[in-house]
């Protein structure tokens, strides 16, 4: 076998271009699989590690105000392990160097001896001293975004009083891995941060002595979360509970969980495409190899090499590039994975990111790739084994051709001979042609679907920030305001338009299905805040009844015309039947809308307002911001354009990376296919092409015959690729959509033009690389011998 191995090595070297293409395809598949799965498991491991070390709670609940002694009662609920109570509130802050007002989410730290859940990791500095009421630990992303550090001061309006806070530490918490303002979907670290301070300080500032408004608990092993939640809801209903919920509805955990779910899907789709292409490539390359080596194989058999030796020899041609691809791919995957994880680390804030290289994954990828290689080689190997030595010694009979498409009487003579050569070759191997087209199309599809997610998220941002919200600022009140005493924003100089809305926590139920939900009462749907569906179409507010987002209606199992039980979770705690007037297919989240006056009537409390949305005069903006910073009773201010900018920045960063990686991989795929196709055509037809050169054809003329076939494949692959790309995108949209958001189906012209341009470039490069070989075609040698 030693000499056979030497032959294998030499032949591999001779076929280096084609073998390199196969290696590259396997490499891409393995690299994608290894990197993505490493990131997935790293995120999972980092999350588990973080949750464990900092005692992330299992169940959460917000109440208006409940006496502290209830903590004891809660801890006696069967299945509850640890309970922590806190005081939590949102306030407006004045950040040095920032014109606009920002929002701080104040969270109390446990007093001495109190049990603590959702612990704070101190990245820098220290915890506040128990006696100091002005000391705060601030979330690291907020400090970094605002270039602040421990030792700096920040002004805040707490319960109507201006207070100067001293930053003593930079912290992180498992509760805010994804740090986002309540009501927003995207992080804006410049204008929203978490501030941890002593409970005593918050108690006195908010008049919450001996009380709490936030409760979290961990469950004992084997406890029923559902049962605990049910008992909590009953216990705290009269304290303004908005309903307890598990981790599945904790906003930060939902986002990170969703990200992990998406990675899990990407692990399967992309590598599968690469492995399918590797199978196909190996198949055609090795089939060709066996035909060119039939005489050598015959000689080997005549010399006494067994079928097994020959079969393994041919398999070797598949296994060597596959193993090369696996080794390089695992290395590249490990490297890419750690880079990707860093990018994730910029959006998701972990106390420490654990990078996990899962050997199981690398082994799984290796086994799959080896399987693909063997799968691609098996037919060629069989052919070599079955070749009877005597027959193999004779040259292969001329290829059989039959009259085809261009021989129809109406077409006969219309096309020049080189075109006929190309068309006949395609007609002779229609399956091979179809597969080649499909494989090239797959690379286009990767590009199209890769860019689709970008276009889709961009549309999301457009609809959300451009169409749905036309206000500049949202001012959220700390406590609901009666309509009579509402802030009169309209009278402030520089406020062009103002609208108000009310948000009521309710439980919506239909039969056995029910859901905690914020019911939003709007004054109108055609003013600053509009109702826009996923297609960008405006919708009006029904005259009577509820307007539910489609996903929410599906979850509740209701359709327009059905009655829904609406139970208020605060205030009067009334409960009534309200008809569902319609559904709206919104992009983000789950929402229920109703007319403000109807909501006020239902609540039976004479009306209330939770927030105002404002359109500002650009020239007086700064003055207004200064005023907002000191406005009492304001729990949060959201700046729409700033949110959009930070979202777009984040999007661009992550998209640039993934577009680059996907484009590189798609190029490898397209190049491998086109280059190999042309190389095989060249080796199959070197003799014919040389004969044509001897007969007087120019290099350009034979290059046309050689590359014309691949060019036709590329042209055919473009529409097919677009189609597969669109189908893949629809599949992606379905898989990636969750309760948090739905990816709208958007296909921009740029997307298709980009994919087209990439393919054309790759095709030209492949053509040039193969075309170079035509220059060195040995005209004399091919005339001497067959093959």
């Amino acid at each position: 076998m030693k000499q056979l191995n030497r032959k294998l090595l030499r032949d591999l070297l001779h076929l280096k271009g084609q073998m390199f293409a196969v290696t590259a395809v396997v490499l891409c598949g393995v690299a994608v699989f290894v990197s993505m799965s490493n990131v997935k498991y790293s995120l999972e491991a980092s999350r588990a590690d973080y949750y464990g070390r900092y005692r992330f709670a299992d169940v959460f609940m917000q109440v208006k105000r409940a006496p502290e002694f209830y903590r004891e009662a809660v801890s006696r609920i069967p299945g509850v392990a640890n309970v922590a109570t806190r005081i939590v509130t949102d306030v407006t802050i004045d950040v040095p160097g920032l014109d606009e007002p920002a929002t701080a989410h104040l969270v109390s730290l446990p007093g001495r001896g109190a049990s603590s859940l959702n612990g704070v990791y101190i990245a820098e500095g220290r915890m506040p001293e128990l006696s100091k009421t002005e000391e705060v630990v601030v979330s690291r992303p907020f400090l970094e975004a605002n270039h602040l550090k421990p030792g700096d001061h920040i002004g805040a309006v707490i319960n109507g009083r201006w207070k100067r806070l001293l930053i003593v530490g930079s912290g992180l918490s498992p509760e805010y891995i994804y740090e986002v303002q309540p009501g927003a979907f995207f992080p804006d670290n410049r204008r929203f941060g978490i501030f941890w301070m002593n409970r005593k300080a918050l108690e006195s500032a908010l008049d919450m002595s001996g009380a709490f408004n936030d409760l979290s608990l961990t469950l004992a092993h084997g406890a029923s979360e559902k049962e605990v939640i049910r008992r909590l809801d009953r216990m705290f209903s009269r304290y303004g509970s908005l309903g307890a919920y598990g981790r599945d509805q904790q906003i930060s955990d939902r986002f990170i969980g969703d990200e992990i779910r998406i990675l899990g899907m990407e692990i399967t789709v992309l590598p599968a495409i690469f492995l399918v292409v590797a199978v196909f490539l190996l198949n055609i390359v090795l089939q060709r190899l066996v035909s060119t080596q039939r005489e050598q194989i015959a000689v080997l058999k005549a010399m006494g090499y067994s079928d097994e030796d020959i079969g393994l020899h041919v398999l070797g041609f598949a296994l060597v590039p596959a193993v090369g691809g696996i080794i390089l791919g695992s290395g590249l995957g490990a490297w890419l994975g750690s880079g990707l994880l860093k990018i994730y680390g910029e959006v998701y804030n972990f106390s420490r990111l654990l990078y996990v290289f899962r050997y199981e994954n690398a082994i799984a990828a290796s086994l799959l790739s080896l399987g693909a290689a063997v799968g691609g080689a098996i037919a060629a190997s069989r052919r070599a084994v079955l070749l009877p030595p005597a027959e193999a010694m004779r040259p292969e009979a001329p290829a059989v051709y039959r009259p085809g498409l261009l021989d129809r009487p109406e077409l006969a003579g219309r096309f020049p001979v080189p075109v006929r050569i190309i068309v006949r070759n395609i007609e002779r191997h229609p399956w091979k042609a179809l597969l080649s087209v499909t494989m090239i199309a797959l690379s286009i599809a990767i590009l199209v679907s890769g860019r689709y997610t970008y276009d889709s998220v961009e549309r999301m941002s457009e609809v959300e920030f451009g169409l749905r919200h036309r206000e500049d600022v949202t001012v959220i009140f700390n406590n609901p305001m009666p309509p009579s005493t509402r802030f009169d924003f309209r009278s402030m100089a520089g406020v062009l338009e103002a609208e108000y809305y009310r948000e009521e926590p309710v439980r919506l139920s239909s039969g056995y299905r029910s859901r905690r939900q914020i019911l939003k009462g709007l004054q109108r749907a055609d003013g600053l805040q509009r109702l826009i569906d996923a297609h960008g179409q405006p919708r009006s507010l029904p005259a009577h009844g509820l307007l539910l987002t489609t996903t929410l209606a599906d979850i509740l199992g209701v359709r327009p015309g059905d009655l829904l039980e609406v139970e208020f979770l605060q205030g009067s705690r009334r409960s009534m039947q309200v008809p569902v007037a319609g559904t709206i297919d919104e992009i983000l989240g789950l929402s229920a809308y109703i007319r403000l006056d109807e909501l006020n009537r239902m609540a039976g409390d004479g009306g209330a307002l939770n927030a105002a949305v404002l359109k500002l005069d650009g020239t007086r903006r700064l003055k207004l911001y200064e005023r907002f910073k000191h406005l009492p009773g304001v729990g949060g201010i959201m700046m729409l354009q700033a949110l959009r900018a930070s979202f777009d920045e984040m999007l661009t960063k992550s998209m640039n990376t993934s577009t680059f990686v996907l484009t590189a991989f798609a190029c490898v795929l397209a190049f491998a296919m086109i280059y190999n196709g042309a190389r095989i055509t060249l080796s199959e037809r070197a003799r014919e092409l040389s004969s044509l050169r001897v007969l007087g054809m120019t290099k350009r003329e034979i290059a046309f015959i050689l590359l014309g076939e691949q060019a036709l494949f590329c042209i055919a692959a473009i529409p097919v690729g677009f189609l597969i790309g669109i189908l893949l995108s629809v599949l992606l949209a379905r898989m990636l959509s969750s309760e948090l958001y739905r990816l709208p189906l958007v296909f921009s012209a740029t997307n298709f033009i980009f994919a087209f341009a990439v393919l054309v470039t790759v095709a030209i490069v492949s053509g040039l690389v193969v075309g170079r070989r035509l220059l060195t075609l040995d005209l004399i040698a091919v005339l001497k011998t067959r093959e």
Partner: protein, 234 residues
């Protein structure tokens, strides 16, 4: 009569690694228009090298070659392609037909390249294949394939027809059939024809017989009386 092709002092040395092999040494020959020349020689005698240089596929190491007074020794690659395209007809030992094209289309392949060709149908009738024009190579016998190759070579009315072992892959009967076609082309179209062979018997049909050995001409004689190919035997 001025010679169509003049070869003088032609030497070709191949470098093969560390050894150099002299394939031709100091060969000088003139070919007149309309001659049927048989170039005889054992394998390794240099006859194929000579044919390749004459056909514009290869360049000599030294010496010169001129076609109708035009020097080919220093001609560019493009000029040589043009020379092959306009003036030379090649017939190969293994026919070298394009398997994806029918007999007619194989001939058309060259008629499309030049200005005043014989129509592909006429060329195929000339080689006796008027009834097999739309067959693919895989549907033709070896002799038939070689005749298609001859039709393809002559259809562009070349001034020089170069045949490299045209009967080498054929049986006796078919081989003679092919030689008859070559002889007829030479007679009827007046094409200067060069047939390379190691088969001495074929020399009988030539106007002139040149014998090569070890890269040098050892004999150059004119046949007093030509035999028709049917009278040959080997």
């Amino acid at each position: 009569m001025t010679p169509v092709l003049q070869v003088s002092g032609l030497t070709k040395v191949y470098r093969m690694g560390e050894v150099s092999v002299t394939a031709l040494s100091d060969v000088s020959l003139d070919f007149s228009g309309g001659e049927l020349v048989v170039l005889l020689g054992a394998s390794g005698s240099g006859k194929s090298t000579l044919l390749n240089i004459i056909g514009g596929l290869d360049q000599p190491t030294s010496g010169s070659i001129s076609f109708k007074g035009v020097d080919l020794t220093s001609a560019s690659e493009a000029r040589l392609t043009e020379y092959r395209r306009r003036s030379i007809g090649f017939v190969f030992q293994f026919y070298n037909l394009i398997s994806s094209l029918t007999a007619r289309e194989n001939v058309k392949l060259v008629t499309e390249l030049v200005g005043n060709p014989i129509s592909s149908e006429e060329a195929l009738r000339l080689v006796g294949l008027g009834d097999r024009m739309d067959h693919f190579p895989s549907q033709l016998s070896g002799g038939e394939q070689q005749r298609v190759a001859i039709a393809r070579a002559v259809a562009k009315r070349p001034e020089l027809l170069l045949c490299d072992e045209p009967t080498g892959a054929l049986d006796y009967i078919t081989g003679k059939l092919v030689l008859e076609v070559i002889e007829r082309i030479n007679r009827e179209l007046g094409t200067t024809t060069l047939v390379i062979t190691h088969n001495v018997s074929i020399a009988g049909m030539a106007d002139r017989v040149i014998t090569l050995r070890s890269g040098a001409v050892i004999e150059d004689r004119h046949n007093a009386s030509k035999l028709s190919p049917s009278e040959l035997s080997w």
